[in-house]
Amino acid sequence: MSVALVPLAFLMWAVTYPSRALPMLAPGIERLPAWAVSYLRLAGPAALAALAAVNCLLTTDKPPHVLVGVEPVAVGICVLVVTRTHLLLPGVTAAVVVVAAARALGVAA
């Protein structure tokens, strides 16, 4: 079994752990300017939105192209369901069902 990405897990830990530990271990370091605190708060939704956009709107070939098909529609449906239910799983399930149905019916590749 490959362990090629285990070092990546340690790298991810190395860039995550200081944020979790430093203020608890070295009090005072958390006194950042207000704009920096706001930027840090906004980084989470920004990163995940960028990830969603890239993954549902661009193809994986190189260079990437804009993806046209049922996939962006399915992601939109997921967003609608999550907005209504405040739960992730029903949204993801709806997206999967839409794509699976479209492929089974031959209307999507």
Partner: protein, 260 residues
């Protein structure tokens, strides 16, 4: 004698308050566990699509323990991004933990440095939300409470990731439409983090930057550009009452629909 009696009463009151708060904590923790398991399943699926091995998945969920960032890393691995880019994005996503740790610091100040160092590894969004609420209710630190909060997310997240990976490996993920689970989960998770005007602007700005830059320079560069520039869009609009970023001194993350 009176003083000793008062002390016993105070101790009993405190013990009763801690017990009641711990029961509340356990109920809340069960709700967290109930959603962490299925979201973990989705991560297992995303990891399979990014060609992780089961050990890679296990290492990610136990060593990195960084839900949303784990999803991001899986997407970047799938796109062939460099580890430096992955580290940058993960660091950016998880930088918010600085705020959680700062908020916990007054409660953990009396604990040994070693204990604080271990506790910090498990300081996820949910651990913070559960533990801080517990500490506020009882007016101080309680070790068992912290670990109930930490394990409520760590255990189901890790188990869910592994189960998701194994189950997804046994089926044709493309035919079943499971390949859409990852971008759908990212969009849904992003929505879960949006609570005000600034969050919306940051998320839309990030997407608007990521796609054209991704088209021009590659998906992973687009992602890094969107993630790092997107917050500037949020900062450029006036905060609304719902914007957490408008009240930087009081971090109150939502544990609803989130990740470690």
């Amino acid at each position: 004698m009176g003083g000793a009696s008062e002390t016993r009463t105070t101790t009993r009151d405190r013990s009763s308050a801690v017990g009641e708060s711990r029961r509340q904590l356990t109920r809340d923790a069960l709700a967290i566990t109930a959603y962490a398991l299925p979201v973990g399943l989705v991560f297992g699926l995303a990891a399979l699509q990014a060609h992780y091995s089961l050990l890679d998945v296990l290492a990610n969920s136990t060593i990195a323990l960084a839900g949303g960032a784990q999803f991001a890393a899986a997407g970047l691995v799938k796109d062939g991004a460099s580890w430096l880019a992955i580290a940058g994005v993960v660091g950016l996503i998880n930088a918010r933990h600085l705020l959680y740790s700062a908020a916990m610091a007054p409660y953990t100040a009396t604990r040994s440095r070693r204990e604080r160092a271990v506790m910090a590894h498990f300081l996820t969004d949910e651990t913070f939300a559960l533990a801080l609420a517990h500490f506020r209710r009882i007016g101080g630190f309680e070790r068992r409470g912290y670990w109930i909060a930490a394990m409520a997310i760590f255990v189901p997240w890790t188990i869910g990731s592994c189960i998701g990976y194994v189950v997804a490996g046994a089926v044709d993920t493309n035919r079943l439409g499971l390949d859409i689970a990852f971008p759908a989960a990212m969009a849904g998770l992003s929505l879960g983090m949006v609570s005000g005007r600034r969050d919306v602007a940051a998320a839309l700005g990030a997407a608007a930057i990521a796609v054209p830059v991704g088209l021009a320079a590659g998906a992973s560069i687009g992602l890094v550009a969107g993630a790092s520039i997107g917050p500037c869009f949020g900062l450029s609009v006036p905060a609304s009452p719902n914007d957490e970023s408008s009240t930087p001194d009081i971090p109150e993350p939502s544990s609803e629909g989130g990740l470690p």
